[in-house]
Every structure is written in structure tokens, then in C-alpha cells.
Subunit: 146 residues, 4 copies
DNA sequence: TTTT
DNA sequence: TTTT
């Protein structure tokens, strides 16, 4: 019945997204994301990094495949899913992944350009933003007389 | 550019949703939601309630109109929007609302029945859940061979 | 560096919290939490449950140990942490847990009573709320002349 | 009773934080934050900006006063609070503010330097991160034998 | 293993 | 105006 399963991450990609195309045509993308926490303990600075396995599907995966790269800073919203698989010895193993429902590139626009050539500059992320907007949308209420 | 504007509330409706139908046919629903915080201050228990103005549009509003009522406990996810209007004296005023993107009825199912007659019992919220599921969905990836 | 690692769950405890006391005196509590999602797929209702491993430490664990039980509906906020351990065959394994930073019992107060005897009734959760308030607090700004 | 009131924002400061020191010695900081959403409507790109009133108190305000500036990209977590005040004509008015409980500077470290002189470079934000860590912490469980 |  |  009632349930909420929500994850919010801001971090950097540990590698370029790994892209696969399933038989049905759907795109799936996987990458790791590092979230780092800084705190002081016993007067000393500690930096602690947590690595997350992120999965994106379909349209979101298509956008990610085009615009996300190793090192980019992103905001990700999704849900937790633990799935099992059999390892090489035939033992059941579990992985917990974040199934992304939404993402947002952070940082400077120039950081987000796939290419940064004169004449082409900033096109990349502009399009990315437009596409991401499609996923973020569902807010087209703004045309209402209110 | 990059932006995140997210609100997460769990609270009780202060009144039944007020339903309007716009000329284009879209449904809009408004209600207030109370979130209460308890803490101890100077050794005394304090209960502090915050009131939020919630708006829902279209399909989400239709579901809300059917199943939400004064007193219900609900989880709401949405975004902040401050809009201006002119008061009776013609002065510009501002209100901040939560434009809901998603909601979830909490508590016992029996709490969520509009009617609770023999034969009709539990139909109400069961349908609510099904409908709400439509809005929560976008998770139909589960049919993929993975 | 910059990082956000946040999890928000609303679900039911799958079992009573398992309580341990570490040598230093700190309490640790573990339990599983089910979050259930309902959606319709190909016209049929589907109910999908995800199980989460939740850990609580110290003061939060003490409150949890007193007031949480199998079946309770609870809101939990925390962060993801994946840790490794060696299984019985000496192989490295990984588990992802939600390290709770905050929680909130939902549902009716009567649902939350440990005991419900005349004379003792409601004491349980009333104290729970007071204690939880201590963890939720950090909002003592309210004494300021503003 | 049970309640959750949570806001998560990622956006840019519209102005430098305005700092006040209350009689008791507590620091209060106010600033506006812009969150921008991009979407396509009727095939045209739309950029919509929402402005939020953010308040920070005490230690968090001290850190903000030192390190936040107009234009910075920041992640903020807090709660909604609507308070009333009397305008110049003696009429009751309401403002909704985000009372921040936590924040995180995003973007490149170099973006976060208050000063960027040779020899002093990067000191600013490094210290900011250390201090912010103090507020983010409460995760000192890591010293436990587990 | 929860809940509806 | 909710809820406990």
C-alpha cells in the first residue's frame, strides 16, 4: 500500500555512462556516482566518499548517453531497487541500485559541453537542457488562466 | 539553467479539497495541509503547526477530488510557486503555494474509505490507489529482460 | 567536496528492530522496511515491494528500540552507505544500508502504543514523540525576537 | 503529531546574504535564491525562474555570511515557514520563507573562493567546506567497530 | 519479512 | 482549519 522510496543525490560521475540497447529498442545506461561528505573528527578533516550504482532507462537514458560524462556534477532523483543475480560460482548476490527518474546537470554550462568548438559551443548542453526539460516537465499548467 | 525546487510534506488536510473546473476542462483542486512538529523547549513540550496551501492540476486533481478529505494523512511531493494577485484594494499581494506533482495516502486503508458500507467497503481507496499508481508510475521498466 | 546523499522512505517495518549495544555504550538498531508501490500495467494492478536495510545509531537507536515495532508505518530520512563484509567462505560481499538520521512515526497514535492498558495508555508514544522531537529539533530559533 | 515539512532547492543566490546580529548574539542571514526550470511548450523553449526567500540562523548563518555570495550555486535543505507581519499601512501580510537547516556549495571550488589571490587561493572554500561539514555531520558513527 |  |  502506501509507500515512498526516494533518493536524492548530488555528485560526480565516476566514469562515462555505459550504454546498452535492449531488444525491444529501449536504452539502458549505467554509471557510478560519487557523493562526498566532509566533516571534522577529533579535530581532523575527513573526506568520505560513497559510490552509488545509477541506472537510467529509455528516454532518460538517451539524454544521459548524450550529455553525461565522467566527472560531471549532477543532481539525481530516483528510487532504490535491490536486485539479485548469480555470480560466476552460481551463488545468489544482491546489488542495490538507484533507478533514476530525473536528473539535472549542475555547474557551469561550459562544463557541460560535449564539444566546445567555436561556432558549436554551448549547443550541447542547451539541447541537453531542453531534453531534460521534457522529462522534468508535466508542469504545463502555466497556460491556465489563473 | 540548473535548478531544483522540491517540497516534501506529510500532514493532515485542514479541509476538504475545493474543486474547480477550468474552461479548457482541466480540474484544479486546492486545500490546506497542516504539518506539525513536536519538540521540547526549556523542558516543555511544544507543538508547532505550519499550514501549507496545496494546489493540484488535471489528473492528479481528479484523483484528489475523489479521495482526499479533511483530516486525511497524506504524503505530498511538489514544487514551490509564489504567485501574485491583486487584493480588493488593488494592491499586489503574494502567496506561496505547493504545486503537487504526486501524492500518497497514508494510514490505514479503512481511514481512506469515502464510504464504508458492506458491499462497497474498500472500493474507494482501492481505486484511488490504482489511479494514483498511474501518476506515480513511469516504472514500467520491469518487463525488461534484465 | 560537494555532495548530497539523501534517502526518504515511508514504509512498514518487516520485523521488530534488532538492538545491539556496542562496547563504547552506543546503541545500534537494525530492521528491514518495506516500501510498496502500486501501479497498473497492461490494465492489471501490480503491487511491488522493495525491502530496505535500515540502521540507526545512538540516541536515535534508543528511541527506535523503545517505540518501533514490526508493522509500524514510519517516515525515515537518512543516507546510503554500502559496506563490505566477508561471508562464511571468506569472499567479500557488499550490502547497501540506509543510515537513518531522523524518523517519524506515522498513522494513528493508538497504532503506536506499546501498551494500551487503562491508566498507561498513550504514554508510550507521547514519550516517543517528545524524544523524537529532540532528534528532529535544532529549531530552537523560535525564541528569537523576530 | 506526525509531520514532515521539507524543502530541497538547488539554485543561485540573487544577492549577497544580508547579515544581522540579534541582541542575544545569534546571527541571522537572509537572501533570495533562484531556481530555474527549462521545458518546451508548443515546441518552444521556456525558462521559468522561481524566487525563494531563504533564512539561516546561528552557526549556519555564520558560515553562510562568510562564504555565500550573489551568483553562487548552492544546495539547500530546510523547511517552510509562513510568518505574518504588518505592512506600512498596518495590514497583516504573509511571507513564506525557507528556513535552511543545511546547505552545500556546488560547482567548482574556484568558484567558491571569496578571494582568489596568489597565495590565498582556495583557502576560502576549503575552510567553508570544513565548517559546513560541522553542520552536516552527526555521522560520527564511523569510529564504531562495525 | 511489512502493509492494504 | 488538521492530527495526536
Amino acid at each position: 500500500m502506501s509507500g515512498v522510496n526516494k533518493v536524492i543525490l548530488v555528485g560526480h560521475l565516476g566514469k562515462d555512462p555505459e550504454v546498452r540497447h535492449l531488444e525491444g529498442g529501449a536504452t539502458v545506461v549505467n554509471f557510478t556516482l560519487a557523493t562526498t561528505e566532509n566533516y571534522t573528527k577529533d579535530g581532523r578533516k575527513v573526506e568520505q566518499t560513497e559510490w552509488h550504482n545509477v541506472v537510467m532507462w529509455r528516454g532518460l537514458a538517451d539524454v544521459a548517453a548524450k550529455f553525461l560524462q565522467k566527472g560531471k556534477l549532477v543532481y539525481i532523483e530516483g528510487k532504490l531497487r535491490t536486485r539479485s543475480y548469480d555470480d560466476r560460482e552460481g551463488n545468489k548476490r544482491y546489488v542495490t541500485e538507484i533507478v533514476a527518474e530525473n536528473f539535472n546537470m549542475l555547474g557551469r554550462r561550459s562544463d557541460n559541453d560535449t564539444v566546445n568548438q567555436p561556432g558549436a559551443a554551448n549547443q550541447g548542453s542547451a539541447k541537453a537542457e531542453e531534453h531534460i526539460a521534457d522529462f522534468n516537465s508535466g508542469n504545463a499548467e502555466d497556460d491556465l488562466p489563473f
